[in-house]
Symmetry: C2
Subunit: 343 residues, 2 copies
DNA sequence: GGGGTCGATGTGAACGTTAACACTGTTGCT
DNA sequence: AGCAACAGTGTTAACGTTCACATCGACCCC
């Protein structure tokens, strides 16, 4: 850190060295026209000589623009949220914004309020909330938090724009794929019931079966974790032993699918020989599980980018009340874990 | 957003309503003593009536404290970095700081410089850099970036404090475990060679074998991805077919271990019957792979917390030049993928 | 009862930047 | 020649806080 008299150099220090006024320095820094080329050069030289860089705080005070966006993150142990966050970060930086993150450990109104308050204190200009849980979305809508606000995976009609993957379409494609292979119906292990994504996938699964006129069994509710996948996988084996025909399972995320694969394997069942399994997310491990997991890929980075685009749009035109949503398609990836049912 | 005459309320608005000077409002807001209780109450009332909240920018300008810390993140698709980041965020918030993140897509001096510049522009008070790559650490050390700076997993002797997991100890425990089971030696699939963690694990593996007087084979270099684990797993199978005795493999991370398990399985080899496999990281899926993966757990959250403690320490006592490091122990988790060698 | 301390409050000046306006000198047009 | 327009620059006043200091009672102790 170069200093002038023991402190960071400021605009007027540069001005003195360059022999101009501080305002001219400001003009050079901000790339204003109407500064003589030679003056620009002199100021530039002084800037690098002193190692000056503008004080963003002072600038923010007078312009009333902090250039900071906030991001509310949830449980980053999960693949999706952490990926989305990365996408948001990149897009924010490209747009010239700083990104301040805060994680909401619990989705209760209190927890959300505290997290949002943290962002408000920081005078963020806008905020992206990764809001996969119903409760969180409601808390968000009720709160006097930072605005504009864009939600990721937050369902619709909450009063703010939403960016997300088309969960229902993804689920339908997974089911369609299994039906096309010849399965009579498809069982479902669902995600946490308080998550909107879980609900959308359940809905897509059910509707696709209904449309095809197939039996709709009851979904087995999990919590996204490999552990719960394993437990419910065992439950599936039990049901099968009791005589229920189970040849295909659509699992609401890949982590649970890992547990399901283990449960089936431990029970001596072959995947896809006896049972086909399809997951959701396409985590990096998916292709290298045994067998390779057929799954539905979500482009999280693109979701993050889309969310930030919505936010930037809202910042540009704050008047537009109608929240325009952005939906990113999901893509089926067929691998070894799905095959025709046993003959 | 409540307003006074169309703009956000400021301190003097509150002062006017409460019938005091702006300075008294400031005192109340900052919890100074020496304000009459009744005055405090009146000011508080005025604050909530107007929906006032202090302008952090103005405060930062005069106090010269932004209350913002920076975090340099790398590839957040990886389990470790994203977990660590979460730990850092929580600790920062608890300490009353905001956290601004920036991700360095590439670890080259240029990429790092750009990322760091972004943080400098923001006047962060300090920075935690997740710096697992040698090149990144060097770039960081050479750069006039934000100070104080704390590195996570950054190796030692770079000139700034480092927090990290004791990689070498973890690797040694993994190897020790396999030797104790009766294996004559242990093969190793290593991580990206430009990563310090990869190097530390190689070193721990090699030293533990040497100390036990065992043959040290050449490590097979991977890149952390399940794909590379799969490829090198196949290579291992080839070597075994050529007559090399391979009964135990220490894989530098769990994601690669997933690929190795698949390769072994596809070659008709049993884990742990024919070959034992031990990973590193303890990702949530590890226990539910087939078989459950023996691995070395890293407490990433604790690393994040430790890093932030180092940073806060450096902020309190900026004079202390000697960087005190913080090392978090790794813990072996024995599961089904490791067993005695075939007889 | 007078000087000193302390509690409770107000006043004015920073902090470092940008916005608004004023001021020069040159150019171009009539 | 005169006047407007404009490029190039400087001057001053914000922005909303906190800090340093001043003020004014009340209280205490010898």
């Amino acid at each position: 850190m170069p200093t002038v008299g023991g402190r960071n150099p400021v605009m007027s220090d540069v001005a003195k060295v360059a022999g101009v006024s501080h305002q001219t320095v400001s003009r050079v820094v901000n790339g204003h026209p109407n500064v003589r080329e030679e003056t620009v050069a002199r100021v530039r030289r002084a800037i690098s000589e002193l190692g000056y860089h503008p004080n963003s705080t002072a600038r923010a005070l007078v312009t009333r623009r902090t250039n900071v966006l906030g991001a509310l993150a949830v449980d980053t142990t999960l693949f999706g949220p952490s990926q989305t966050l990365a996408g948001i970060e990149r897009a924010a930086r490209e747009a010239g914004y700083f990104l301040s993150i805060v994680s909401a450990d619990d989705p209760s109104p209190h927890g959300v309020a505290e997290a949002m308050n943290h962002l408000v204190q920081q005078s963020v200009e806008g905020c992206v909330a990764i809001a996969p849980q119903r409760e969180l979305v409601h808390a968000l809508a009720a709160l006097p938090g930072p605005r504009p606000l864009v939600a990721v995976e937050g369902g619709e009609g909450a009063g703010f724009p939403v960016a997300g993957v088309d969960q229902e379409q993804g689920a339908r494609e997974a089911v369609r794929h299994l039906l096309d292979l010849g399965h009579r119906t498809v069982h479902h292990i669902s995600g946490r019931s308080d998550w909107l994504e879980a609900e959308a996938r359940v809905h897509g699964w059910r509707e696709e079966l209904r449309a095809a006129g197939r039996t709709v069994t009851e979904a087995l509710p999990g919590d996204w974790s490999p552990r719960s996948g394993h437990e419910l996988g065992r439950r599936l084996v039990e049901l099968r032993d009791e005589g229920e025909e189970i040849t295909a399972v659509f699992v609401a995320n890949d982590q649970m699918a890992v547990g399901v694969l283990k449960a089936l394997h431990d029970a001596g069942l072959s995947v896809p020989g006896d049972v086909s399994v399809v997951g959701f997310d396409d985590i990096p491990e998916a292709a290298y599980l045994t067998p390779g997991l057929t799954t539905v890929a979500q482009d999280f980075t693109r979701v993050g980018t889309a969310a930030l685009e919505l936010l930037l749009g809202a910042l540009d035109a704050p008047s537009t009340d109608a929240p325009a949503d952005r939906t990113v398609p999901a893509a089926l990836r067929v691998r070894g874990s799905s095959a025709p049912p046993p003959a």
